[in-house]
């Protein structure tokens, strides 16, 4: 079946709710309205108001309640209307949820999900990519799918996981990409990257919407004889160190590409992993392409200037190839 990225996530949650009575959803406007982006559209009619709960606008309470319910063996799926608002619940996530298994041995099988990402002119409070806030919190799994197939397989894996998962849905991709998704039950394992494109000359390590930018660049660069390999991380915590090392060992040159601000961003961490695992294999400097060190501005020309662009990838790839 051809599914959009959004539909794939929606179907994944729907199937888990069909099959497992312990799965339930909570969040703002997710019931009769079906959520700001309609990910839970129609759920309340099928699963009832007990399992599709419209909550007050209270992000800490949403996470706290999801966590509490998970302690009784339920599998809550909490929606953030925008992932930007997850900051309001930061303490619950960082100090309550993430530390619980390490400190007192209680599993917390919950999913915190919602739309993130730029390129839709959402402005500084509706375009952020706050995944790094959670990468630096041991105990959380942080997932950022790039394709409908992965989005469905990963949301199902996250719901079935015994650990708290933070699931970032790129809102630019929601209705822009479509692909064939099998109708049988499958999951995509958390923590495993995938090669989105095989290549010889240099590797682009990236995830989410940037995978598509990298693929576009690869098609254009192929005409110039530059052959990109693209590693789609899929999960940004825990990182697939092996896959990162492998692609570097193969191409010996790396670009790391992400939307969020450069300083303290994921590229720094990946560069350190390469340093630890494949230093001797490098034939050039590790290149970072990332968002500016500012808030993400609203006006389209400014927003695009802040975010990584196709031209950035092409320019940096040419430079690195020639190095």
């Amino acid at each position: 079946m051809q599914l959009t990225y959004l539909e794939a996530i929606r179907q994944g949650i729907w199937e888990e709710m069909e099959n497992d009575p312990t799965v339930f959803c909570l969040g703002e406007d997710i019931g009769i309205y079906g959520g700001a982006f309609k990910v839970t559209d129609g759920f309340i009619d099928r699963f009832g108001a007990e399992r599709v709960i419209d909550t007050p606008i209270a992000e800490s309470a949403i996470v706290g309640a999801a966590f509490g319910a998970s302690l009784t063996g339920m599998r809550p799926v909490a929606e953030f209307q925008f992932m930007d608002f997850i900051g309001c619940a930061f303490n619950q996530i960082s100090n309550m949820v993430a530390k619980t298994h390490y400190l007192w041995g209680a599993p917390a099988p919950l999913v915190l999900r919602g739309p993130s990402g730029g390129y839709v002119h959402g402005g500084p409070f509706h375009s952020q990519n706050p995944e790094m806030w959670f990468v630096h919190n041991p105990g959380l799994k942080v997932i950022c799918p790039a394709t409908p197939y992965d989005a469905k397989g990963l949301i199902k894996a996250a719901i079935r996981d015994s650990n708290p998962c933070v699931f970032f849905e790129h809102k630019y991709l929601y209705r822009r990409i479509k692909e064939e998704v099998p109708s049988d039950d499958y999951i995509v394992p958390i923590g495993k990257a995938r090669i989105a494109r095989e290549g010889r000359d240099l590797s682009v390590i990236t995830y989410a919407a940037m995978v598509h930018t990298a693929l576009e660049a690869a098609d254009l660069l192929a005409k110039e004889g530059i052959d990109l390999e693209i590693l789609d991380l899929r999960t940004v915590s825990p990182l697939d160190r092996e896959a990162i090392a492998q692609t570097v060992k193969k191409t010996n040159k790396v670009i790391i590409l992400h939307e969020h601000s450069r300083t303290g961003g994921l590229a720094g961490e990946i560069a350190a992993i390469i340093n630890e695992e494949a230093f001797d294999d490098l034939d050039g400097p590790i290149v970072r392409i990332a968002g500016l060190d500012s808030a993400i501005p609203f006006s389209p020309p400014q927003e695009l200037h802040y975010l990584p662009k196709l031209e950035d990838v092409i320019r940096e790839a040419r430079k690195l190839k020639a190095y």
Partner: protein, 464 residues
């Protein structure tokens, strides 16, 4: 220092005069429910926990009242005082003014406790206090890692509240509720080992104090240091249980300081809207570290906050175990009937500093003296031995000796536990395959599915 010039800062004008409170509306109900009904706090709302949208009672008039089980209404207030000494140097300190000589009221007769139960609560309160004395000694011997927190003067609040819970109910203590842990079946050695960071402590050295939990047997959620965050979590426990067909009471505590946090509001409101069986005990102990309650909130009693949430509340004397128990029992019963949350404000005083390092020099001495006369253990002992004659002097002595013996045994266990190995810092960050089986604790939720089939969404959405 010489009191040359005295000036009051703007805070601290809130009156604590309890006399303006309507007298003895013990069984009146809060907020929006109809006529008062005898028997307990609040009244039935929706059945089986389903939140029910109800308009205020027909008249359109709002008549709010808060039951107050106390037999006295302490009348004093604390304010900041700016004074200059002889050299003209300015100093700021706290001053208390009001009636600090009031006689100690009797214990209020419990509507529910029988002799055995009253004695059992007394015994837990003794265990609580003696465990903390043992901890103080362990600290002085250099055996404690970090500080020690005390619930001195609050033993009735911790023990009698937790005593009202049923076996299947859940609770989450705050730092001063070491007595609640004993009531719920943990050993004194568990808490002692936490303080000493021992290998056999419930968290195996990974955290201290009352920061531990048990979701299998004793239904306890581990607190974190951040105040207020347990409240939505406990609401969620009640939500999870309700989806599994059980209306449980979920009890936790919050201080007069901690209640200022935003998550407190979010949590209570969530429980109120979802009609979940939260029993929130507000430990109104007049101080939050060095800050008097006058600088935390402006309303007269924290119980008034409940009106804004649309839930019932009740005020009790936190040094009277019978009042604490009765209010807690009624709140727990409400939760079991699916009638939603209850707030219990327990008025008392933190009788030591914030923790062992803090001499509480900022607390005006007359406040300690006022509340020292209201020692919860001495009051309950007097009630059991002299008023009710449920305990003879001899039996009381025996009971105290037995408590001493238990604490000594527990101390031995704790002291003899080894320190954890350095490497035990590693692992356990994630729940790995096979480490826990995730399954509903009470029952597989009963699923009622609508006939609507899966259909692709075509609806318009935010940000195309």
């Amino acid at each position: 220092m010489g009191n040359k010039k005295i000036k009051h800062t703007s805070n601290g004008n809130r009156s604590r005069n309890g006399n303006s409170r309507p007298k003895a509306p013990i069984l009146a109900k809060a907020a929006r429910n109809g006529a008062p009904k005898a028997g307990a706090i609040g009244s039935a709302q929706g059945k089986n926990g389903a939140p029910k949208a109800e308009s205020a009672n027909g008249s359109g008039l709002r008549t709010y009242s808060i039951p107050d089980y106390r037999l006295e209404h302490p009348d004093y207030s604390v304010r900041q005082l700016v004074e200059k000494d002889k050299d003209g140097t300015q100093h700021v300190r706290y001053e208390v003014s009001g009636d600090l000589d009031a006689p100690v009221p009797p214990i209020r007769e419990s509507k529910y406790l029988d002799k055995r139960q009253a004695i059992e609560i007394y015994r837990y309160m003794l265990l609580n206090r003696k465990m903390e004395i043992a901890l103080e000694n362990l600290y002085k011997q250099g055996k404690v890692v970090g500080g020690v927190y005390f619930g001195l003067g609050q033993e009735a609040c911790s023990c009698a509240s937790a005593y009202a819970l049923d076996k299947d109910d859940w609770f989450a203590p705050m730092i001063r509720n070491q007595g609640s842990l004993l009531v719920r079946g943990f050993g004194a050695s568990d808490t002692m080992m936490q303080y000493m960071a021992k290998a056999d402590s419930p968290t195996k050295g990974r955290d201290g104090t009352s920061h531990f939990g048990d979701i299998e047997k004793r239904n306890m959620v581990s607190p974190i240091s951040m105040l207020g965050d347990l409240i939505p979590v406990m609401a969620g426990v009640a939500l999870g249980a309700r989806l599994q067909g059980r209306n449980l009471a979920v009890m936790t505590y919050i201080g007069d300081g901690g209640q200022s946090t935003g998550v407190t509001y979010e949590g209570i409101n969530f429980a109120a809207v979802q009609n979940l069986g939260l029993v929130l005990v507000v430990e109104s102990n007049l101080w939050a570290y060095s800050t008097p309650s006058e600088m935390q909130y402006r309303c007269k009693d924290l119980a008034e906050r409940a009106i804004g949430y649309g839930i019932p509340s009740v005020i009790v004397d936190g040094t009277d175990a019978c009042q604490v128990y009765d209010a807690s029992h009624e709140a727990v019963e409400r939760a079991h009937r699916g009638e939603g949350p209850t707030m219990i404000e327990a008025k008392m005083m933190r009788m030591k500093g914030h923790a062992i390092h803090d001499a509480a020099a900022y607390v005006p001495k007359p406040m300690f003296e006022f509340w020292k006369r209201r020692d919860p253990i001495a009051r309950l002992e007097n009630y059991l031995v002299r008023d009710k004659k449920w305990l003879s002097a001899k039996e009381n002595e025996k009971l105290i000796a037995e408590v001493d013996r238990i604490i000594e045994q527990e101390r031995e266990i704790a002291v003899n536990s080894p320190m954890p190995t350095p490497e035990s810092a590693e692992g356990g960050v994630f729940c790995e395959d096979g480490c826990h089986e995730i399954k509903p604790k009470y029952a597989m939720p009963k699923v009622k599915k609508g006939s609507a089939a899966y259909k692709e969404t075509e609806a318009a959405a935010h940000f195309k």
